[in-house]
Symmetry: C2
DNA sequence: CGTTTCCATTCACCACAGTGGAGCGGCGCC
DNA sequence: GGCGCCGCTCCACTGTGGTGAATGGAAACG
């Protein structure tokens, strides 16, 4: 909730990739490490990528990855490659991810995402609602130390 | 008309880029040269790219362009960057381009493309129909020496 | 025909995308 | 508190993405 839908944030490749890391989690809720992503991509897709390079991308010290690496990263995180290019797609994907995150934090399991036709704005609104309701119900919302 | 909508063709970056060159023309119907595209990208977008490298991409001798070059080429040809990544997007874009090409070859001018909601299959069908009708009417369809 | 022009193709080279490994700080464990 | 593990950070280096200039061939011109 730190950053609302502020359209003026940088939207660089690095920021977008970092957002994926912070949003898309493993089954046990932990963030993926750079190394986990690197080895998973090598194992699942046959593409080679190093953990240190992923770090360079996330921090913006490298900002011009090649076709194959863009493809591999997008595939791993389950987002279209256009996520890194088209800001409109970025908004749409992040709205969907926010919804999934809110549902996850609310303890929802096995809910089929049938909101495919909704606009990013609607999805974000739903995500916010779920978050609020969840916080109200629990009085002590689950916190997993995520602020770096 | 050499290659119909055969979904089994390679769909490599090079093939897709080459398709754009053959389909997207200048105002005077001529194909863009590699050099024209290179200088236009440098002039319009500030990104540097060389004509020889574009050739390497088109012929498949280079197949791993960087983020900035993918973006620049997509922008120049007026297609989303996803055209190079997602085959579904490739189909959609090519269907739209085929329609525009058919309309152009049929001599149509100033027709607003209001077919935004149609499926790629429908667009391709319409494109084919326009082509057939045009050929029938003219008995001598306009040929601009394009077979290399 | 000879000349010029233009553009695809090739070559030699350079800059930078991408790597491996060493260093370092934080955290859990005994 | 000391030890070991893990994952971020940084550095030196390599491979290849990308370039500019040279070559050749085919139209265009006269």
């Amino acid at each position: 909730m730190a950053v609302p839908s502020d359209p003026s944030r940088p939207r660089t490749v690095g920021a977008k990739l970092d957002h994926l890391f912070r949003t898309v989690r493993r089954a046990d809720q932990r963030e993926y490490t750079n190394e986990e992503v690197a080895t998973a991509i090598v194992a699942d897709q046959g593409e080679t990528i190093s953990a240190s390079y992923i770090w360079y991308l996330r921090t913006g010290q490298r900002d011009n990855p090649t076709f194959k690496h863009i493809n591999a990263l997008a595939r791993f995180f389950g987002v279209p490659a256009a996520y890194f290019f088209d800001d409109e797609t970025t908004d749409k994907v992040e709205a969907e991810l926010a919804l999934l995150t809110a549902m996850r934090d609310a303890g929802v399991r096995d809910v089929a995402l049938r909101a495919a036709g909704l606009s990013p704005a609607s999805l974000r609104t739903i995500a916010d609602v779920i978050t609020r309701v969840s916080e109200l119900e629990q009085t002590q919302p689950k916190r997993h130390r995520e602020d770096r």
